[in-house]
Subunit: 432 residues, 3 copies
Amino acid sequence: MKSRLEAYFDRLFPIPRSLTGNGVRDSLRILGEVIDLDIKEIPTGTQVLDWTIPKEWNVREAYITTPGGKRIADFKTNNLHLVGYSIPFEGKLSFEDLRKHIITRPDYPEAIPYAASYYAERWGFCLSHNEFQQLPQEGLYQVKIDATLADGSMTVGEAVLKGSSEYEVLFTSYVCHPSMANNELSGPLAIAFLYEEIKRMPNRRLTYRFFLGPETIGAIYYLSKHGDRFKKYLEAGVVVTCCGDRGNFTFKRTREESYLNRLVPHLLHHKVGKNHGVKEFVPMGSDERQYGSPGFNLPVGSLSRTMHGKYKEYHTSKDDKSVIDFGALEETVQLLADLVRSLELEGKYINLNPKGEPQLGRRGLYPSLMSDLNRERNLEHILYLLNYADSKNDLLSIASRMEEPILAFLDPINSLIKAGLLRKDFARIHGT
Amino acid sequence: MKSRLEAYFDRLFPIPRSLTGNGVRDSLRILGEVIDLDIKEIPTGTQVLDWTIPKEWNVREAYITTPGGKRIADFKTNNLHLVGYSIPFEGKLSFEDLRKHIITRPDYPEAIPYAASYYAERWGFCLSHNEFQQLPQEGLYQVKIDATLADGSMTVGEAVLKGSSEYEVLFTSYVCHPSMANNELSGPLAIAFLYEEIKRMPNRRLTYRFFLGPETIGAIYYLSKHGDRFKKYLEAGVVVTCCGDRGNFTFKRTREESYLNRLVPHLLHHKVGKNHGVKEFVPMGSDERQYGSPGFNLPVGSLSRTMHGKYKEYHTSKDDKSVIDFGALEETVQLLADLVRSLELEGKYINLNPKGEPQLGRRGLYPSLMSDLNRERNLEHILYLLNYADSKNDLLSIASRMEEPILAFLDPINSLIKAGLLRKDFARIHGT
Amino acid sequence: MKSRLEAYFDRLFPIPRSLTGNGVRDSLRILGEVIDLDIKEIPTGTQVLDWTIPKEWNVREAYITTPGGKRIADFKTNNLHLVGYSIPFEGKLSFEDLRKHIITRPDYPEAIPYAASYYAERWGFCLSHNEFQQLPQEGLYQVKIDATLADGSMTVGEAVLKGSSEYEVLFTSYVCHPSMANNELSGPLAIAFLYEEIKRMPNRRLTYRFFLGPETIGAIYYLSKHGDRFKKYLEAGVVVTCCGDRGNFTFKRTREESYLNRLVPHLLHHKVGKNHGVKEFVPMGSDERQYGSPGFNLPVGSLSRTMHGKYKEYHTSKDDKSVIDFGALEETVQLLADLVRSLELEGKYINLNPKGEPQLGRRGLYPSLMSDLNRERNLEHILYLLNYADSKNDLLSIASRMEEPILAFLDPINSLIKAGLLRKDFARIHGT
């Protein structure tokens, strides 16, 4: 039976998405069944930071007719055939003139490449190199692009789960890619299902913010609205992308030192051992480079399985459902949920009896028969907590020192708090 | 011929020791022939930090008589047979009832295990698993434990060698283990003989403090008396334990950065090359976890050869004289004496002619004939001292930079001081 | 055809140089044809820091006549034969007495060793061990040293290329070595030709200072004049020595952290990959130990190819022209010129649009057709500059982060400055 993840994937995959347009609206509406999205329309021409919201683009139909009368490169068959943001065009061209408007991948001849031209007006088609090579070079080609590129709006969706403090965590991905699977339906799907997980967690201290919009200009817009507040209150943010394939996890670190840079490798280490990668921040890639621009410098990293550009099918028609493993995508959701649980458990823990060890035996926290054979595992967690709960170490550093997962401290913490030996203070997590 | 170390070992080994009792008193009195111990009695019920001094335990006799009339598990034969702090008991039991009071080591069947139950009242016997397996399962066993567990006192011993400054160094080990050799007669013996070495050193600047008491509660008591002063004045402390076997040295670092954490690996590196181990502080192990509790956070590490728990015979009757190498134990004493000599030599050295090199030639400190063949080895020490004696570097960092043992700087320092080119300032060592 | 470097080498090699004397004067005059040297005479007896300028030494002739009447160890044949600063002497000696004045290298029997005795009055000769072993042991030897060791002066040369700021860079080598090639004609030659390169660079911000004098006492003199100003204004200094052989480059780091310690390994990494060495500062070696004495502590490192003492011919007559590769020596000059170009390009760059990325597309700095196939290489440099130009990172750290050579940022910087997106602030380089 299809999982819910797969069912949503199947509904979303065929929709033509781009920076703007009805495909984005439809996609956000469907995702909105899972995540309670507040959908916003930002009018063409709105200034957002250094940028301007572009015209809205919608396609009715687009294709080429060969001299022999065959319809090829049909947008209806595969929406990658049309270069994104192609201007309307109708006319006849020789092969020589047409080829200037054709993009192929000679290095990957069976795949239709993905291309777009958002900020310069042009038109073009993408074909597999194999198909392109069989085109007749004589005669006239008929091109038809029935599209509108006109004032309208850019559509984005946001959801918020309020916590008891003003501190926030951001999860974001983008919805501007046409029919490609891992890049990028995996990210929006992971975020929608993560929303459900977090909503179920009781007594949340942090506020969780979820944002889905087009790449780059979406993040620019979101930063124009929330950037200055994020500088004060954002504890962590994750750009979630290319996270549904069968590859190992890859975490791209935030621009400067951050709690997230310590937490994610810790979680990955305990979840998958050495089978994961950690990459330095570089100002290339996806929206983390906007969140990490020097004027904001936010603690936003990026979580992927196989990173964009590191798998063959990336940015082609071959990035389809066969690339996705829905179990792996679910594991991504669970990793992010553990990240949230860890952020909620984090805090400054203070040993209330810091001079020498407290006598644990009379509190039932120490084995009464001294013998190496029956030491309880929890005792070590307790001794680590007592020793390092000195207001200088956060929980993650205590857990890492012991080489134990941070979430394994939940029970020992509760025992010590109940015994009156430990106190939890909240504090800013990022920057500790 | 027996060394003095071995002679004292032989006298101390058979004595039954525990947290409290006459065995501890006898042991401290014998050690007191070497180290000038001030012996103190702390009454049962005294509050020390979060703990209470327990009742005193003394055993007259303890054994089991089999249904066939054979006396086994006799405390007189091996004092490990009785679980430490067993309450008095006399009665007849079936094998089924008796076995709940028997501890064996099926994984090490020829050894009698060591066990104690200080803080919960029970009784029990320890047997080799081999012996246990041959016990008849029919008939009644007669158990006799003629012991007293009553108000009395805990016995500890302290010695002090005063220096010219208020800064202190602590050496400590524990005397609560019954007849086991490496863990723990090696530590008390090393400390007693180290006392003799230090006493012979002239013009000591530091005060040396030596403490022998039971593990954990002894350290808790000592910290209740001296802990707050140690926070101000303790330069370094070493828990000495399991230090008489044939294994390589192991140093367990202090909880936070400390001079000791730099000095001991330096000394070991120059004494034994790579044949030593350095372990991070963890809040498990012996009394270093009390000295390193967050309310005190003292620069106290631990020196062993093979660490507790890392050799097969640990905490069994097989940890006997055959485990000990008295030459190795003497080497431990000498390493600690070098540690003391290094602490005494340490200081801030100041180059009194810091602009350019002073003209060493006219002071007889530079070879007059420039030729690579007759450079003197001391010249390098002198140039390192002059260059780095700038009040920012302590002597250990200068020695480590040059990859030379710190004690090799004694003569070059004296030459430079005599030539008026160097001054020694004293300063707090720990925390530099 | 001979290169200019080789032509100057050939003129300079035969000249007898020492701490002082006419050989130094002649050498500086010849080098002065390339580098505009201001030649200074410092009188005997002048106090410079802890030192005194020694007497001037000049040799007319010096040799030994064997009992058989053969003239050997003739200063005219090879000026290494006479121990530097030998006092005048004329007399007849037995072999037994003579041998106390003879220095050989039994480990390198075909080479005449180099020796000097600047600060203790004695005389002596250096012979190859092979020649020494063939000397007859009977009969009288006639020794003639017609030299003057008398009040006079020490000769040094300095050149300055003024820049627009008060900050300075120092290049120095020494001219006190008699006829040896790599150590040390390569250094003075590299510095003279580097002077020409820098003089051609337009709009220099930094002032470049070049100093050639005898080793040790020359540096002491120079520090006595400029040391305190260098403490304020010196950005970097390089002792250039043993830099004309065929070996890989070796950089000896400055005493403390410095910009130079980061820059030179960066330049070497991008010029020669892993084929170079970086050595820690040690207070042995050449004049860097004077510049790095604790009272000055200047950011002066040392650049060599094969370090002094690390090649067999070092400090013997075998360190002759055959050791030199003039292409390698020229490469040394070019490396130092790149170092200067880098220092000039360095600065604090400030992104003038730091919130989110600026829209590069409308400024012609971003490819308009989004497709992985036609990304321009310069785009990455631009994105790195924008992201890290936040007043916290200097250019070198941005370049190193990207693993690109610092000089590759010249064009991207100019593009961004022209687009109004970047500003350059000057700041102290050393200590950043």
